[in-house]
Amino acid sequence: MNTKSKQQTKQFSLRNTLSAAVILVVIFISGCKPNDNEPPKGAYETGVFITNEGPFGSGTGTVSFYNRATGEVSNNIFEIVNNRPLGNVVQSMEVHNGKAYIVVNNAAKVEVVNAGDFVSAGVIDNVGVPRFFLGIDDNKGYVSDWNSGIKVINLSNNLVSATIATGGTGAEQMAKSGNEVFVANLGGFGLDSTVAVINSLNNTLVSTINVGHRPQSLVTDANGKLWVLCSGNQDWLNPANDTPGKLVRINTSTKAVELTLTFPSASDHPLSLTTNAAKNKLYYSLNGAVYETGISATSLPSVPVINRAFYNIGIDPETGYLFGTDALDFVQNGYVLRYNISTGSAVDSFQVGVIPGGFYFK
């Protein structure tokens, strides 16, 4: 809700007016600095941003910032700088051309801030059920939207200029390869099994590629290939409809599926495909563990590199550490844990906001 320090001040002042008065006196004595809370310019130049979804229903999401050099964590940086909450369910964040685009799912908006100091620089509305942002060029960005496909954003005025249907439902993650954008058609609240190919020069759908049920995350590798992680179908009402996850490699030139690795069990539903800085190794979460596989592997690994469940994972390209989030009970501040992948052991952890679910490594 508020920053912790601000919150504590607030709590005190509410407990009784006497202590509030004391605090006020202290503030006056110490000299009122109106911009005390505002960080110096460029406080967020390099580091790791963590998006925290926030409590479901009525809460607000937040963004935390982890300073690699000092190990310091600043929570709720958007509200500290801009004096208002971000909104309900902060889904993801992307930095493009010096601006950070924070996708606020249930508030149907993308908040735009200067990436260096997090000062609000606008808001993109009318984006349906937004999931992810992808910068295309200086003037153009894409926002995936479960309702309509891709919203094309004019970055000079932050308005939606066009909508691209993706030939499927529930547009989720996007990856750019040359002038083409690959979009995972997750299915939203339903079921889909395609990846859309969009020509970003003229904003048109080129084709769709059949992969597996519920393509959830995708990355490009060192060879320019596209890897798509399909979670597989999970039908709670009829488990007989369950299908196993798949890891699929696509040739970005021919759009052909070159390799399909199917997980052994219909109850295997992997998530969170990510890659290291060299883009020669892939990581994903499955059944409460993290697995690693090389980009030339022809079978799936059977032994995990980290035996722990995370809400989401990311690899820091600077340090090579794996960042994993733990949302605990989803109604209190969660944690980010840093792991040394080669040893499989935790390096350290730090507290962030409620339901940490996404990273941006800057």
Binding site: K10, Q11, L14, P85, W236, A327, L328, F330, Q332
Partner: protein, 610 residues
């Protein structure tokens, strides 16, 4: 011989009675608002007309029973009730009973219970009233009440219709520049009717029949931080209760059967989701009350309850059979003006080992007008049908929650109402432990599952006082309620250590209410102030919502024309225009008004109010 278990076979618990006469000019209100104004109990409300659940003594919504003439009407799928669905027009007396009475009423009555009671009186009378009400934000409400009774019959009916645009302005603190906005998609409408008939036969037979139907359709507004998802919900309830009673000189025998049906339709347009949970319950009960020995009265009974739920996520129709045997023993020490009650109950629920539930209570006079009370009781809560059957996550291995509750208190009361000043006061302290508290937790498989995760210790203090002044044509009343509640997590999973020792979310530590009522001849003025303390919104207590104080006031004028009284009322809610949120980012209306006219015919003339 009176038969109500609540009234006769309970001792040592504290309760707040809100007689129907107190709320008869407040037909605008729903049960949630009635409780907020007349007790220190916290109602967790999502907004005017929106979902409102009760939290008694630091427990959750599923830890309070809601009883309609002795029948638990909490839904079997959730184990709780939405108090916004119960309008004043359909209610009789309301009694808020704090503290566990699981030994009397079974599963889920841990924090306390709210009883909706209608009592027949077999005297010749007729009473008809029509009310019309209009208010801010497009509020329209009409209701009709009719009562006819004589030595054999007591027949009462009530009906209401209400609609509200509910598009009040508020400051959206979650948006850039904090604009003033109007709440969207918050309109609602509803209607309902109740009927009851009681027939007193010679040879002391009484046969009673109660029926209830209510319907409410609500659009669900987004939180300040969210966007409109086109959410809407409609709730339809049918309740029937038939009862037969035979009164002997020193005993009584009673049998009753109730049928309950709740149907809900929820839709979220954004995610194209429609849910239509439908539940039914049949509750049957037989009770015998009588004198066991010279000074010991007893009440013994059996209960059989059947629930069926048709909910898509349960995969198929799920049912539950449960039964109970119960025995209460009352010993009166007349000379000492003390009574002691022992309650024993064993509930049997299909698939569960339910703890044997005893309670022991005593209350009586200490000295002059000072009385004391104490109660120790066991409590439990069987997992709800959602806890067991919801897919994904439903957990068939859950154990019932189980707890102990102890409390004691002092109260002052002057029974002589003829005096000019009538003071009364009470203070209670309580302590409750609830083990195996069920919490839905996220799993590594991206769904949530209920677990017997926590041990919760709820303890606190409640104090209330009332002073009535009556002289000639003037009457005034001042009433104050205060509660202090600590409800903390004492044990939890290793991962959630940050929650240990922390207050449960949305349980305020402090609640303070005051009522100031003044009447002079035909004019009455009532002012109510409600202070709600800080509520934590995260289980590690790192975030909270500030406390708030709101004031409501009602001015009423009665024009008396023989047997007809015309009451004109003005009500100002949130008179200080407080900007507050009961739940994070759910806006509440600022100062708002309503005007009512009630035309009341009664025979014989019952002109006294309050």
């Amino acid at each position: 011989m009176e038969e109500s278990r609540l009234e006769n076979f309970s001792a040592g618990l504290s309760s707040i009675k809100i007689e129907s006469s107190k709320i008869k000019n407040s037909r605008l209100l729903n049960l949630s608002e009635i409780i907020s104004e007349n007790s220190p109990v916290f109602m967790k409300t999502y907004g005017q007309g929106s979902l409102a659940t009760v939290s008694i003594r630091g427990t959750g919504a599923a830890h309070a029973g809601l009883f309609w003439n002795g029948i638990n009407i909490n839904t079997p799928n959730l184990g709780l009730s939405d108090f916004a669905l119960l309008p004043a027009a359909l209610l009789g007396d309301v009694e808020i009973q704090q503290g566990s009475s699981a030994a009397l009423y079974g599963s889920g009555v841990i924090g306390g219970a709210v009883h909706l009671i209608s009592k027949p009186v077999f005297i010749k009378a007729s009473d008809i009233s029509v009310s019309m009400l209009g208010g801010s934000f497009g509020l329209l409400d009409g209701s009709l009440l009719a009562l006819f009774s004589n030595e054999q019959w007591y027949v009462r009916g009530a009906a209401f219709y209400r609609s509200c645009e509910n598009n009040f302005p508020y400051i959206n603190t979650a948006k850039f520049n904090k604009p003033e906005e109007k709440l969207v998609s918050a309109d609602y409408y509803g209607y309902g009717a109740t009927a009851e008939a009681h027939r007193y036969f010679r040879k002391n037979y009484i046969v009673s029949f109660h029926a209830w139907h209510s319907y409410m359709h609500r659009n669900l507004p987004p939180a300040m931080t969210g966007a409109d998802n086109g959410e809407q919900q409609s709730d339809s309830s049918f309740r029937f209760l038939a009862e037969a009673k035979k009164i002997f000189p020193k005993s009584s025998l009673k049998a009753r059967v109730a049928w309950l049906n709740e149907h809900q339709r929820y839709e979220n347009k954004t995610i194209a989701l429609i849910n239509k949970p439908n539940t039914q319950g049949i509750v049957s009960e037989a009770e015998f009350a009588g004198e066991l020995f010279a000074k010991i009265k007893m009440n013994a009974g059996i209960n059989y309850t059947f629930y069926a739920a048709n909910i898509q996520e349960y995969l198929k129709q799920r049912t539950r059979n449960q039964g109970a045997v119960f025995l209460s023993l009352l010993r009166n020490f007349d000379k000492l003006k003390w009574k002691t009650v022992l309650n024993l109950r064993q509930e049997l629920t299909e698939g569960y080992r339910v703890p044997f539930t005893p309670s022991l209570g005593a209350e009586g006079n200490l000295w002059k007008i000072v009385s004391a009370r104490a109660n120790v009781s066991r409590s439990f809560r069987v997992p709800t049908l959602n806890d067991i059957f919801w897919q994904p996550g439903g957990n068939p291995d859950l154990k019932p929650e189980s707890g102990w509750n102890a409390e004691t208190g002092l109260f002052l009361s002057q029974s002589d109402s003829a005096k000019v000043f009538t003071p009364s006061a009470s203070v209670s302290v309580f302590s409750s432990w609830i083990d195996n508290w069920i919490v839905w937790q996220p799993t590594t498989f991206s769904y949530w599952q209920p677990l017997n995760l926590q041990k919760v210790w709820a303890r606190g203090l409640e104090a209330s006082s009332e002073l009535k002044f009556r002289k000639n044509k003037t009457e005034s009343r001042i009433q104050i309620f205060y509660s202090y509640t600590l409800s903390t997590i004492e044990e939890t999973s290793a991962l959630l250590q940050a929650s240990l020792g922390k207050q449960l979310i949305y349980v305020p530590q402090h609640n303070l209410n005051g009522i100031l009522a003044f009447r002079w001849k035909n004019i009455s003025l009532t002012y109510m102030q409600i202070f709600t303390g800080k509520r934590y919104t995260t289980s590690d207590n790192n975030s909270s919502l500030p406390s708030f104080t709101i004031g409501n006031t009602v001015l009423n004028y009665d024009l008396r024309l023989n047997k007809i009284t015309v009451s004109a009322g003005v009500r100002v809610n949130n008179i200080w225009n407080t900007n507050y949120q009961a739940i994070a980012y759910r806006p509440m209306p600022g100062r708002n008004f309503s005007f009512s006219i009630i035309i009341h015919y009664s025979q014989p003339n019952q002109q006294t109010n309050n």
